[in-house]
Symmetry: C2
Subunit: 357 residues, 2 copies
Amino acid sequence: MSVDDAEALPERRRRRTDKRHTAGVKAVAAAAGVSLGTVSNVLNRPEVVSPLTRAKVEAAMAALGFVRNESARQLRAGSSRIIAYLMLDAGNPFFTDVAKGVEEAAQAAGLSVFLCNSNEDVDREADYLDLLEQQRVQGILITPIDQNSSRLRKLPSRGTPVVVVDRALDDTEHCSVAVNDVLGGELAISHLLELGHRLIAYVGGPNTIGQVLDRRDGARNALHKAERPATDLIELTTGALTVAEGRGAGQRLAGLPVDRRPTAAFCANDLLALGLLQQCVSLGLRVPEDLAIVGYDDIEYAEAAAVPLTSVRQPRQLLGRTAAELLLDESSNPDHEHQRVIFTPELVVRTSTRGTG
Amino acid sequence: MSVDDAEALPERRRRRTDKRHTAGVKAVAAAAGVSLGTVSNVLNRPEVVSPLTRAKVEAAMAALGFVRNESARQLRAGSSRIIAYLMLDAGNPFFTDVAKGVEEAAQAAGLSVFLCNSNEDVDREADYLDLLEQQRVQGILITPIDQNSSRLRKLPSRGTPVVVVDRALDDTEHCSVAVNDVLGGELAISHLLELGHRLIAYVGGPNTIGQVLDRRDGARNALHKAERPATDLIELTTGALTVAEGRGAGQRLAGLPVDRRPTAAFCANDLLALGLLQQCVSLGLRVPEDLAIVGYDDIEYAEAAAVPLTSVRQPRQLLGRTAAELLLDESSNPDHEHQRVIFTPELVVRTSTRGTG
DNA sequence: TCGGCGTGTTGAAACGTCTTAGCCGAGGAA
DNA sequence: TTCCTCGGCTAAGACGTTTCAACACGCCGA
């Protein structure tokens, strides 16, 4: 039995279980002729090691293709350099814009962002929360489906900071960042009233969504402030905030007798507004002459519609950025106090209410 | 010096460095009156531990709020239960749909997906690749900016499988999944030719993007096959694949003298097509009577446009699902062989070419 | 010559989990 | 009764990194 044979077996075994033959600090240290600690210093505090030694170590790392094992680092050091944003719906441009803001703030702080998509599924949200807690991420940003989830409540007390995005929580466990939707509704309706409209439709639903209700309340407020009767607001309830539902609402709207048909519509989001617009145009109504339309969110496609859409804009990136900054403060500042930030929306007027002038 | 004082100091020190007072396996074992190994067995092989012991351990875990430390698990076990999809642009609905397919396949295999957004930024792509490799994720799906990046090439040899999405690589290191863009271009132009159009515009750019070139080549092929002169294709080159550029192209198109103006346009993606549509309509052209339009990607908003858009649909979710499945095979099947899967696009005909009939 | 200092480097211990070999005791076969 | 088996559990390393007290060395001032 030769020496070769004696070594062949363990070698083969190593190969089978361990697909990654990545060199560790130990191998680098040996190759560079220094100790473990020195390699670690090169990695984490390069300034304390002499230029000569550092060069040797760096050469060894390059030669061996060394890749730091983050699991081990994190286990020992106790801290992760990652934050996560658990999104409600990655397909909705609103949330991807928020995510952009998050990334911006994280990058400035030297952290990385992992995006997770709960896709409006309660179970997936729960699974991701568990996973992220197990990963010991530095913190979690979330637009929750179920804000009262006990899982969500328990996270901060166990050491994972949580910031709630696009929902205002009345709770003392987390920070939250949101936009004033009631005010948004008021802006939209006030604008339409100023243009001389009397009968106005509110298109939105289902009424289980907080945002939908807030925007409707804002609409009612505006009417009230202008001393108009509440009956001037015709509510068309939809089953979801989608383009298809918008088309359905358009059908219903166009079918009303002319004397009872609103001359303007305020939609709870832009997708509804796009559907409404499309259906009304194809049924022969002119926008804005026969029907003025206001959307909500000001997504990119609102401007690209056949008739560019007047819409209530939310500061999406700012929302994400602020949320991330609150998270960073919470995880680094021992005197952190939870805050509830509420941003103000802004009306962007385009052709769908003002005409081509 | 009392006993209390003696213990106070280390206690305070622990608190300061270690914000998370999460109980570990050790604490659970103590609370349940069993050994470390038994707790680990409850976690990973519940069937080998007796029901009575298991119940005790589970009760202890619940009481202490035990959360497994995934870093430690991964360090010891050597494998992660996470795959990542490094997206080119999270704001583009095309990629979020691909991501949905990825999530679907991952969930079926019991894995979780982390989404990362390179945002078409080479540096961020590189940073994320490094990060993911350090995290020792089970594998990486990527729609790369720079397909020839050495970083990308080296990953598989170091043990992190990589699957390239929406790009066909001629390379032997990875699997790749893509869609036949040349064929897509042919479909679009053949459709327009069948409708009797002679002069056709191709709107797309910049010409550094592979997809843009492939679709153009497909368009030329179709013309060639129909024995039409190459000059029947008017190329309008844009600076990007955005709505704004589409509007610019519309302006240019509408400005052409009528006898030299194409009666149809094929756009390299839907955003361009939406911009083109909007501009042409607002300049008084009727769609499709004066100008027929075909887009590419069939994003949700294509159907929601003022004039629903004919578009070339790519099997987006299938793309993501297939890519994830290839990745899973590569990381679990020792006999894995790299593959290059190419899907076939499909033409979805709507009003923008066919009229309301 | 000596103590003291600062700069660079070392070695060993820890982080929390999984794994493996082995231990114990009960029950069955001889 | 003795021996063996087997299910259930324990104890003792790993895993790859960071940290920290200790150390070697050259230098200065006393």
